[in-house]
Symmetry: C2
């Protein structure tokens, strides 16, 4: 890794942490430069524009998400174990950055702002839902889950549950949250065996 790539990577790590706390828009070139100990212009040169920086932050987040959440989960045994592995890692991912899930933050900022950053985020989130759906489909075929379940409906509900929980955890700080989350997932997967 060349010097430039190394610096860029360090900058993006700091930017990711900052963005999770203060939003993409809250990542200021000045404060970011101060954070990593370099000059505004020196840092700026790596990204050529503010917009590019936002896209780079998002891409760095996606890369990290795949490395820490998706890829490890896909190594779990197929079917329900893999489904739960992905869900658990996704939930734990909310604690990976100081301000919580970067995609939750970015979603609110970007959902009304067309552009490459939004496209990137939407694609990555659709990927996540699709991954849940695919894994659920296999879980049904394997007999882990009830035949009557619709994998896409299940993926939708899992997605809602995950983001809803992130909200409950970070805003409401309900200590009962994790237990309620577990119960909700169990009911989601096995509503028929009560």
């Amino acid at each position: 890794m060349t010097k430039g790539e190394d610096t860029r990577s360090n900058v993006l790590d700091a930017a990711l942490a900052m963005a999770s706390r203060e939003g993409l828009a809250g990542v200021t070139i000045g404060r970011l430069a101060e954070q990593v100990g370099m000059s505004k212009s020196g840092l700026f040169a790596h990204f050529a524009s503010r917009d590019n920086l936002e896209v780079a932050i998002l891409q760095a987040g996606i890369d990290r998400f795949i490395a820490r959440v998706v890829s490890p989960a896909l190594k779990a045994p197929r079917g329900e174990p893999r489904l739960r592995a992905l869900f658990d890692r996704w939930i734990a991912w909310g604690d990976d950055l100081p301000g919580g899930c970067i995609f939750r933050v970015a979603a609110v900022e970007l959902d009304d702002r067309p552009g490459p950053a939004r496209d990137l985020l939407v694609a990555s989130q659709r990927d996540l839902v699709d991954t849940f759906s695919t894994i659920a489909k296999v879980a049904i075929e394997e007999g882990h889950l009830s035949k009557g379940l619709d994998p896409q409906q299940l993926a939708f509900e899992i997605y809602c549950l995950g983001y809803g929980y992130h909200q409950v955890a970070r805003l409401l700080r309900d200590p009962a949250g994790p237990a309620r989350l577990r119960a909700a997932l169990d009911r989601l997967l096995h509503a028929d065996r009560a």
Copy 2:
């Protein structure tokens, strides 16, 4: 209503719309003043500080939420009808402002920033969950919902579903969203009668 109160109310209406699109932090005194056609200093005088403005915006959002969502829903027949009325109005509330639910936006900005604005938001969201819980309890007592259900667990899952849906609707724009939402709520309330 005095002239000042009238102006303040107009300003807050515009601010609410702006905040829903660009976040509380995106509401700038200059742009807001331009929007309502007055001077920065004239507008500023109504709030005395930027922080106060944020709190006022949030309070205006809460007032509107109660007027348009909670109060009308509480007029529905007790039990499941009231539960569904509250849920439906809550979901529709996402289209009340141009940038979607103001609380979803504010939650992301405030969940890491202690202060009166955060306190106000947390209290209002806890109120919402509690309201769902109370109505669900009655619905169970009335025999509308299964005796085995835990009202608080149900409220948690409804809350997750609502916020998850807002996310799916605004970011992913999945046209199947509303149907999936309806199916999810039905399953939530009547998982036992399949």
